[in-house]
Each structure stands twice: as C-alpha cells, then as structure tokens.
C-alpha cells in the first residue's frame, strides 16, 4: 500500500520525536503535554520511540519556525506541532516533509497540505453545534451575546463562522452585542460585566470556548443577574459552575489526547502504515446527561484544567481507520 505523506521509508525504529509546542505555559497545553509524554512512554516500552524533544516557542510563531528548523537540523524522525499561526509555518513544515520526517499537526492547523497528517476536531461544527443548542433552548428567538476568542486567530474565527449559518437560519435570535477576549476567565468576566450593565435583557450567551464561559457565568453571578443558557467548553471550572448554579448548559471539547494521538499517528506512519491526511476527531458533547460522568473524574484534573474524555489505543486505531 502507498505510504503516508512525507514518509520515504528510510527511517527505522526506535524514533526520535520532536514536539514543537507554541506555548507550554497554559494549563491546556500542560495537560496535552502530559498525554504526549504518557504516549511516548508507552511507545518506548514497545521499542518504537527512543527520545522525545520538547520545545516551547513562548507564543512566538517566529521562534517556532526556528525550533522546527532546528528539529530538521537535528534530524528527528517525527515532528508533532500545534501551530502558532495558521500559515507562518507552512514553508518550514514542507521542508521537514521533504526530508521524510513524519509531520503531524493538531489543534491549531497549518494551511499547507505537505504534512503527514492533520488531526483536529471541526471548529465550524463546534460553532454550529453551540449555536444550534442555544437556539433550541431559546425556542429560536431571544437576545443573545456572542463571546469570541481573541481576534486574528483562525480557531476563534472558524468557530464564529461555523455558528453563522445557524444564526441566519434563526432570524428570531438577535445578537445584541459581540466581543472578543482571551480564552481566560478574568478578562471574560470583566467584559461580560460591562455588557451586563449595558444590556438589561439577555436571553442567552453563545460562548465559543476556553474559560470564557466560566468568566461569563461568574459575571452574571456577581452582578446578581439570573443565569441564562450558555454554551462552553470542558473547562473544569465551567463544568463545576454548571452543576453548582444549575445552569442550562452545553459544552464540547478539544480533547487533550489529540497530543497523544498525534504521536501515535506519527509513529504508525513511520512504521509504514498509511494514515489519512486529515483525521477529523468527532466532538464529544457534554450535556446534562453526561456532565456527571465528567465531574466524577474532576479531581484527576487541575482546577483550571480541562476534563477530557477517556481514550485508548482502540480509539486511536478506530480514528486512523477512518
């Protein structure tokens, strides 16, 4: 069978894997790194991996380019990447691909297709799912506020774009205002508080990720406003507030095990397996029926972390078989 993209078949196990992170400090990243490290341990036991090199570009896409270049120079066998910019890395990544390095890109994707595989959930589906749930909650009409992630970043843009068709289809939903904040609780709380004062009537909040929902809920709470239906992500803080305040909520997630899965995929490709060029990971949905199963595992996760769904090799193989 034809080998995967970039793979030339000249590399032999055990492999050296490079993990080119854009920024290692946020908790989501720490958790992701945890799944990667755990996966590498597994693969080491199987004699497939000998080394893991980790870099942290400190949020600087330019530095990430430099790191990937250094990984090429150091002749690693696989590079796993969360991109700091959706297109800045295109050229250095295609260089790596030309060298026969297995390049697996997940979470923040690059434009170029010269990679072994891209692994991600679907941001548009995320936005659409959230908007659809909210619209159903509100019976298709009401005043809503849209809370976006930071401007100029593809992920926040994609989620917002994904929501648009649903919003268009429900003309009864009125976006009274829309704003951008970091994917963090404090700035979100701050922004939502200002919006609360400016808008006496709010029926729902379409929050598109991170700890933004937690910040919004706390803003409602602190200003003594009645909570409204709100969408969100699997941030532990949000899930706990959801339960504690009895919210009408909906959440999805960007599973941290995408990291582990990417390493697994890279090694599979190096081993000569054909892997799909794009692996779409279905979005797990958290709603009132499933939230308890997540909260039951809460104390295994950092308080400002994300409670991700379980994963195992079988799941990975199933995803690879798509």
């Amino acid at each position: 069978s034809a080998a995967a993209n970039c793979i030339k078949g000249d590399r032999k196990a055990p492999y050296t894997v490079g993990w080119a992170n854009i920024y290692s400090v946020p908790t989501w990243m720490k958790q992701t790194e945890g799944t990667i490290a755990a996966e590498v341990e597994e693969l080491k036991k199987a004699g497939l991996v000998k080394d893991l090199m980790i870099t942290d570009a400190q949020g600087n896409a330019q530095t990430q380019i430099q790191h990937i270049q250094s990984m090429i120079d150091a002749n690693v066998d696989a590079i796993v990447i969360i991109a700091g910019s959706s297109n800045a890395l295109d050229r250095v990544i295609s260089d790596a691909c030309d060298k026969g390095i297995a390049v697996v890109n997940f979470d923040s994707l690059v434009n170029t297709d010269k990679v072994t595989a891209k692994i991600n959930t679907d941001s548009a589906e995320w936005g659409a799912g959230a908007a659809k749930w909210l619209s159903e909650q509100l019976g298709g009409k009401g005043k809503i506020i849209v809370m976006n992630g930071p401007a100029g970043i593809s992920v926040s843009d994609d989620r917002r774009k994904g929501a648009q068709p649903v919003l268009d289809a429900n003309p009864g939903l009125e976006i009274i205002t829309e704003t951008n904040t970091e994917y963090n609780a404090a700035p979100a709380q701050e922004a939502m508080t200002s919006l609360l004062f400016a808008n006496p009537e709010i029926d729902g909040v379409l929050s598109l990720g991170g700890a933004i929902s937690a910040g919004s809920v706390m803003a409602f709470d602190r200003q003594g406003r009645e909570q409204v239906p709100i969408t969100g992500e699997n941030a532990r803080q949000f899930l706990e507030l959801w339960k504690e305040k009895g919210l009408k909520g909906w959440a999805t997630m960007q599973p941290n095990w995408l990291g582990a899965f990417s390493v697994y995929t890279a090694v599979q490709a190096l081993e000569g397996k054909d892997v799909p060029a794009f692996i779409r990971v279905p979005l797990p949905v958290i709603d009132d029926s499933t939230i308890d199963s997540y909260l039951a595992r809460a104390d295994k996760f950092p308080a400002d972390g994300y409670i991700y769904s379980d994963y195992d090799k079988a799941l990975f193989d199933k995803l690879l078989a798509q």
Binding site: V25, I176, N180, S194, G305
Partner: protein
C-alpha cells in the same frame, strides 16, 4: 481663567477631571454605564491596576521600570492556594507567605539592578521569563481554586456596600502617598529619579533605595495578585499578563514622567480609572475587533493629548 491654567499644570487633577468628564458623557449616552453598580465595578477593576501600578509608580519615579509586575501577579495568584496551610482558618498565613515571596522576587530584581548593574528593564524582563519557567513547574497539574477565606473575603466582601478591593486600594493609596510625600525615602526616590549622580553625591544610597523600591514593587504586585485571585476565585497562568502594560500606562497617563523624578501616585489613581473606563467603553461598542482596537488606541491618544503634555524645552 487662572483656575483653568493651574488645572493644566496639575496633571493628577487634570486626569481626575478627565475621568469625571468621560463618566458624565458616557453615563448620559450609554444605558447602564452610569449605574451605581457599574461605576463601583469599574472602580473595583481599577483597584487591581491601581495597586499594581503603586509599585510601578514608585519604580518609575526613581527612573526605573518593572516589567515583572504581570509575572509576579500570576505567581502570587497561583501560589496562594498552593501554599495556604490547611491548619490556618483565617488564611492569613498563606497570604503573608505569598506576599513575602512576591516581595522577595522584587528584592531580587533590585539586587540585580543595584549590584549586578543590569538595567532594570532587562533585569525585570529576565525575571518575568524566569518566573514563567517556574510556573510551568509549579502549576503543572495542581489545583488552584482558592479556598483561602482571607482571599475570598478580599475579593467578594462588600462592607457597607463598598467592595473590599476598593477599600484595600484606598489603604494602598494612602500608604503610597505617604511614602512619596511624607517620608524621607519618597524624597530620595524622586531625587534619584531626577538626577542619580547628584543624589548619590548628596549621600543618597543608590543600592539601598533600589532594593527597597523593587521590593515594594514586588509587594504591591503580590497584593494585586491576591486581589485578582479573590475576585476570580481562581488563579491561572496568564492572569497577570494584562496588568503589565496597564500598570505602566496608568502611571504615564497620570502625568508621571517615564524618565523619572517627576510625578505622583495621585495621578496614577485617576490614570487607572481612566484605563478601565476606556476598556469598558470599547467592550460595549458593537464593532469588529479591528475597529474596536482602533477606537481604543484613538481614545487613549486623545486623552493623552489633553493630559500628557511634556514641558516645552
């Protein structure tokens, strides 16, 4: 006429008048802006910036700058839940420990600037980088929801309807104003800022004052970190980041010279309120992110045009 003239020579007062004007105009034109609760909330937000900018004001008055303010806020916000001992029902021990660490970080900044002669900007920037690394170690996989009662009280309590954070800010303001205007050390900071050589030859010890100052800056940043933690009930990495540039901007908007030697915390106070107000105004405007960014910049620039004139040569 004369009153107007003297107003323009008094940057703190001018900034305060500016705040009042902005509040008046916004309150009349935007629904909900002028509500008592909203203004109170703005002040509460300003308290964090104001407290962080307290140390920054002192450092800038002495001709330095502290780029580790944001990192220190983050470090404290994350450390308090971790180091608060379970046996202490008041939570004060944890707070004291965290403040000691923050002060210690500031002290190290001062030592680097004073003894290693590293320019403050480099020293504090390197310290911020260093602390980021430390956070990766400390914050990896640990709980950081705060249960410390003292911190929660600070963040949530409203004695007589006034948020505790604002009260803390009042105390800090009084202390800093006392330091600057009523204590010998304040006059020494100012002299060092305006002419370090002359101050040194007049018997003002550069090293000693640098140490005290950066330690104070660390302390106030730590205090701001505790307040932020109380207000958010959770510390996370990056929580302090927004306060670095805002603390500097509040100082400069308040009429303090970035070159040192001239200014007062009395200007920083309205400067902090002005920044928070501007941010709130921009948040409620329904426009694309690009336009909102442009409006924010333009607003700051126009406020500066009124308040920030440097003396003509």
């Amino acid at each position: 006429m004369k009153a107007v003239k003297s107003l323009f020579r008094n940057p703190p007062l001018l900034t305060l008048v500016l705040v009042a004007l902005v509040w008046l105009v916004a309150g009349l034109t935007l629904s909900g802006f002028g509500a008592y609760g909203h203004l109170r909330y703005l002040l509460e937000l300003a308290a964090v910036i104001g407290i962080a900018a307290a140390g920054q004001t002192l450092v800038i008055l002495m001709g330095g700058i502290d780029l580790s303010v944001g990192a220190v806020i983050t470090v404290t916000a994350i450390l308090v839940p971790l180091i608060s001992p379970a046996w202490d029902p008041t939570g004060l021990v944890g707070v004291a420990l965290a403040l000691t660490i923050a002060t210690g970080i500031g002290f190290l900044n001062g030592a680097g600037a004073a003894y290693l002669r590293v320019p403050p900007i480099i020293m504090t920037l390197a310290m911020a980088t260093f602390l980021q690394g430390l956070l990766v170690v400390v914050a990896g996989g640990s709980a950081v929801t705060v249960s410390n009662p003292a911190v929660l009280l600070l963040g949530q309590a409203r004695p007589l309807g006034v948020p505790a954070g604002i009260l803390l800010w009042l105390v800090v303001s009084a202390a800093v104003l006392l330091i600057i205007h009523r204590m010998p050390i304040g006059a020494r900071f100012l002299a060092l800022g305006a002419n370090p050589l002359a101050a040194r030859l007049s018997g003002v010890s550069v090293a000693r004052n640098t140490l005290i100052l950066y330690a104070l800056s660390g302390f106030f940043a730590g205090l701001a970190g505790i307040l932020v933690l109380g207000m958010n009930r959770q510390g996370y990495v990056g929580i302090g980041d927004p306060y670095l540039l805002t603390s500097i901007a509040a100082v400069v908007l308040g009429g303090t010279s970035i070159l040192g030697g001239r200014g007062t915390y009395a200007g920083t106070i309205p400067g902090a309120i002005l920044l928070v107000t501007t941010t709130a105004l921009i948040t409620v405007v329904n426009a694309s992110p690009g336009w909102r960014s442009i409006m924010f910049g333009t607003l700051i620039l126009s406020l500066l045009l009124v308040s920030g004139r440097e003396a003509r040569r």
